[in-house]
């Protein structure tokens, strides 16, 4: 370890000590004076890794026994996500590509999804050849091919429109958030649009039998979900802990990836509980058709059990508790049934396509996937805040567009889903915003020969979770050495904007300056954040080089 690194480690320990003594003091943490990283180059060409395959039982042993027990025995301390940049944001990578956080997607973009609007129209009139029966997963279906690509064809089995609708809604929203997902569409197909490949070892009767439970429209067309084969070659799901050893680009243990840890809040919002390695897929994407080199892109798959659909299979505790909860079983046994589980009064709405999905009993802090998922054991408040910011970005019009893509035939079902998603969105965002400072989007104006002004947006105020007239901000300004050089008080505008002008900047190290905010909310403890600023080389303007959210 080099000298500066030694010093950094020493500073880190000091930082931790100071942090333990109180949030208001300035830490010894310093950032490099450079623009925050917006993209991670994890696409260095590699040869195709072997296909990774984990059996269902091995996964269950891992998820139900090994991972939670080992996690408990390891007595883990706080472990900040490692794939974040200096602004504590997720740069673009093979895991995540910020979309709605970077620009306001139009409702139509969300309705059309990753493949674009033309695709759904093309598929509705395409002719498909059934290549084989679907092998993976429990839902019946076929592998089919048409002029525009190869698809997995699936149908509703638990309730009409429920699985296909949920898959599309969640796929659209996760895609808009930034996750890599397959291109899925709900399409109504006439039976004669499906022909059987002679080598498929299937008969018309076999196909009819599989399609029999699928709902049909007035014209007799069959409602199916078409999920396009992903680009590249499949190499299996990614492990929930650690890295893929055969992928040098996969440098950060998955439990330390915010993109996976933050998924917990997305999944809580959307009632996605079927979380397992088999519902992820790594694709090795070659540089060109003939190339022997490529990179690995990481995908989330299969959302048909989300939005309470799994609750239709008799899983009352869906999204509230795992298949078997040791602690809950013990407490239930000893409390003699006197305590009431939060899911017990939930009624399934009598609406076509709607699962056991509601908002009144939804508590994002109490969300549980069906089996414990490794990265979620490490999810911290910073990950939740990051996810909450993205969730908050979805407008009702965008949510409505995602629901429209699900092609629910009952208008009442669409309205119910929209109102439920909005209500759950508010709860998820409130939860994510409740644990950290919600000051964000810092903008600085200033040069070396004068003071500077600093503006931020308090997202809790902007989203009306906090009232500006009851929220106070105290600022303390420090130089590189941590010496106080200025102080100020501020209030937020109605839109959450908090601006302070005429602040004194540090005099050394590119005018390195730290502004520590203490937010005193109407209720709850104060929240703290330190913004690190320095003069941009060559520009002569101050810029934000790091954020230290506490």
């Amino acid at each position: 370890m080099s000298g500066p690194e030694h010093r950094q480690l020493g500073l880190l320990v000091a930082c931790a000590l100071l942090a333990a003594c109180g949030g208001a003091s300035i830490s010894e943490l310093r950032f490099h004076n450079r623009a925050p990283i917006e993209a991670i180059d994890d696409t260095t060409p590699i040869s195709k890794p072997d296909e990774r395959e984990q059996g269902e039982r091995a996964w269950q042993i891992d998820a139900l026994l090994h991972v939670p027990l080992d996690h408990a025995l390891s007595i883990p301390g706080p472990q900040h996500a490692r794939d974040v940049n200096a602004l504590d944001e997720l740069p673009r990578s093979s895991w995540f590509e910020p979309r709605i956080a970077m620009r306001a997607l139009t409702p139509q973009e969300i309705a059309c999804g990753p493949a674009g609007c033309e695709r759904a129209r093309t598929l509705a009139s395409a002719r498909f050849t059934i290549k084989s029966a679907k092998k993976a997963g429990t839902a019946p279906g076929f592998l089919v091919k048409c002029d525009v690509g190869r698809y997995l064809l699936k149908i509703d089995t638990s309730a009409p429109e429920a699985e296909t609708g949920a898959d599309i809604v969640v796929q659209r929203l996760l895609w808009a958030a930034g996750y890599h997902v397959p291109s899925n569409e709900v399409v109504y197909l006439a039976r004669d649009q499906l022909t059987i490949d002679p080598e498929a070892k299937l008969t018309d009767a076999d196909v009819d039998e599989v399609l029999a439970p699928a709902p049909r429209d007035a014209a007799g067309r069959i409602r199916v979900l078409l999920s396009e084969f992903l680009e590249g070659k499949p190499i299996g799901g990614f492990p929930m802990l650690g890295v893929r050893r055969d992928d040098p680009n996969d440098a950060i243990p998955h439990q330390h990836r915010r993109s996976l840890r933050g998924l917990e809040l997305f999944f809580a919002w959307l009632g996605q509980t079927d979380v397992k390695e088999a519902n992820t897929l790594d694709m090795w994407v070659p540089a060109s058709e003939e190339s022997q080199l490529g990179y690995v892109r990481h995908h989330q798959l299969d959302f048909g059990k989300a939005l309470g659909t799994w609750g239709l299979h008799g899983r009352q505790r869906d999204a509230f508790a795992p298949h078997f909860d040791y602690a809950d079983a013990t407490s239930s046994l000893l409390s003699f049934g006197l305590s009431r589980w939060p899911w017990e009064d939930i009624k399934t709405p009598a609406l076509r396509g709607v699962g056991r999905f509601e908002a009144s009993r939804f508590d994002p802090a109490g969300y549980s996937p069906t089996n414990p998922y490794g990265p979620f054991l490490y999810t911290d408040r910073f990950d939740r805040y990051w996810a909450a910011k993205i969730i908050a970005r979805f407008s009702p019009a965008q949510l409505e567009a995602a629901i429209a893509a699900g092609r629910y035939t009952d208008q009442a079902a669409r309205v119910y889903l929209l109102s439920t998603l909005i209500a759950r969105q508010r709860k998820a965002v409130a939860y994510g915003f409740s644990e950290v400072s919600t000051l964000d989007h810092f903008e600085v104006n200033g040069s070396s020969d004068a003071g500077f002004s600093l503006c931020a947006r308090d997202l809790a105020v902007a989203t009306r979770f906090a009232r500006p007239e009851h929220t106070r901000y105290s600022l303390r300004v420090y130089d590189w050495d941590g010496e106080p050089i200025d102080a100020a008080e501020a209030r937020a505008a109605q839109d959450g904007k908090v601006c302070v002008a005429g602040l004194v900047m540090g005099s050394t190290r590119d005018h390195y300056t730290m502004v520590a905010y203490e937010t005193v909310p109407e209720r709850g403890p104060p929240a703290h954040i330190v913004v690190h600023l320095a003069l941009g080389p060559g520009s002569g303007r101050m810029r934000v080089i790091g954020i230290e959210r506490r």
């Binding site: 990283i37 696409t43 026994l65 301390g77 706080p78 049934g337």
Partner: protein
């Protein structure tokens, strides 16, 4: 709420994303820009103090890791060779109408038994059923049974037939009545089993083979009537005095002439009529039918037994069993109230002692050993509370109160006041249709601890 109102809510969430300078990592680099990115494990003071427990737990973690690797390896082998699938294919047919299910049973006082249950629910396309059951714990404790019914082949009328063989070399008999048990009267001259003033734990053997045919008719969805005719060959006996078991044979303690049926191989016929009412149901769709939430179940029976050889053994039986299920909350916190009474009518000395109503064991008056109380009549009242623990796992707590009686006059307030009381609880693991596993622990006001383990599959969540 209208769509327009919902869409109006969106204004709260709109703000502009910040414009930031574009910078990219070098290939293979992480976006690690601060020390916190590099050193994750011990980034707080409290963490630094945790090295001691972490070091102590290192070994258990390694052991856990090793054991899990073994498990995963085994799971991998199982999945690769589809062992569970192969076993399932071997044990069940594709339509799941035929199955071979392992069973096991243990009750304090008996040897652990293992066995198998074979079920066919559709022998010839009209839901004709066949059930075979074998439980084995050595030659001295075995039970085999075959049952068949006609399903819907005869419409509302159902034809039943069954055959069974069982042998138990270590059954208990304490004499008649409700007296407190004393350790032994060994060395004293035998006394009459009819005295009712004392009780001693003794044992005897029983070997019997029986066959029956019957008809039942579902009169309404809830009401059923049925009749059965049974033929039985039975041998009650005792062993020799050299046996090392501390429990004496019945004829050591009780006068052999007071043990009707002992040492007499006999054949008898028994005809019985049964009236049943069952409107139990689950009050919620997502509560498994195995946990009835509410309803009433009544069974009334009456029959006559006739000895077909010279031995004594002709008498009548009547009885009733009423169970009321009360949904206390959520359809799965259920109070079960039960009243059961069984009577043997006739000349007491003509009734084989093993045919008399008795209480004790894992089902009737739990908390007492099997066969603890025997007499001409028995009365049992049960209050049981069932509640869920997890999906398909439920627990129950119970109080059983009961006594045996010689005459109806024994059922007066003073008689009932002297009832024996057992209590306990258990855990049931069940599938949607039936019980799979039960663990039950019971005791009583007289002390003792009685354990019952049952691994079985039944069509219906049922207890005798």
């Amino acid at each position: 709420m209208s769509l327009r109102t919902l869409l109006a809510l969106g204004l709260a969430f709109a703000w502009a994303a910040p414009a930031t300078a574009q910078q990219q990592t070098k290939p293979g680099e992480t976006p690690c820009e601060t020390p916190r990115c590099v050193e994750q494990e011990d980034d707080s003071t409290s963490d630094a103090l945790l090295w001691v427990p972490r070091a102590m737990l290192r070994l258990p973690r390694l052991a856990l890791d090793a054991s899990m690797r073994l498990l995963v390896l085994a799971a991998g082998v199982e999945e690769e060779h589809h062992i569970a699938e192969e076993v399932s294919d071997l044990l069940f047919n594709d339509a799941r109408t035929f199955g071979v299910i392992p069973t096991a049973f243990y009750e304090t006082g008996f040897k652990p038994s293992v066995g198998v249950r074979v079920i066919h629910r559709d022998l010839a396309g009209r839901r004709e059923g066949l059930r075979l059951r074998a439980l084995f714990a050595g030659l001295e404790q075995q039970h085999y049974e075959a049952q068949a019914h006609s399903g819907s082949r005869l419409g509302a009328l159902k034809l039943h037939a069954s055959a069974a063989y069982n042998r138990f070399d270590d059954l208990r008999f304490y004499g008649l009545g409700n007296a407190d048990a004393v350790d032994t009267l060994r060395g004293h001259p035998p006394r009459s089993a009819y005295e009712r003033s004392f009780a001693v734990r003794t044992r005897y053997r029983r070997e019997e083979a029986r066959g029956s045919v019957g008809l039942s008719r579902q009169v309404t969805a809830r009401l059923a009537l049925g009749g059965t005719l049974q033929l039985r060959r039975r041998d009650l006996s005792v062993g020799d005095l050299q046996d090392r078991d501390s429990t004496p044979w019945a004829d050591v303690i009780f006068k052999p002439e007071s043990l009707t049926g002992l040492s007499e191989a006999s054949t008898d016929a028994y005809g019985e009529a049964v009236l049943g009412w069952d409107d139990r149901r689950a009050t919620r769709e997502d509560v498994p039918l195995a946990l009835a939430s509410t309803g009433l179940r009544v069974a009334l029976w009456g029959g006559a037994q006739a000895a077909l050889d010279d031995s004594r053994g002709s008498f009548a039986r009547v009885g009733g069993d009423v169970r009321r299920y009360i949904d206390l909350a959520q359809g799965n916190r259920v109070l079960v109230l039960r009243l059961r009474s069984a009577w043997a009518i006739g000349r007491l000395r003509a009734m084989p002692f093993s045919d008399l109503p008795s209480l004790g064991g894992s089902q009737l008056l739990r908390g007492y050993p099997s066969g603890r109380f025997t007499d001409r009549g028995s009365v049992l009242a049960t209050v049981e509370y069932r509640y869920p623990v997890q999906d398909n796992l439920a627990s129950y707590l119970f109080i059983d109160a009961g006594r045996v009686v010689d005459t109806l006059s024994d059922l007066g307030p003073s008689g009932l006041g002297a009832a024996r009381v057992g209590f306990g609880g258990g855990l049931d693991l069940f599938s949607t249709g039936g019980l799979m596993l039960r663990l039950q622990l019971a005791s009583s006001i007289d002390g003792g601890l009685y354990f019952n383990f049952l691994l079985d599959a039944s069509d219906e969540y049922e207890r005798t």
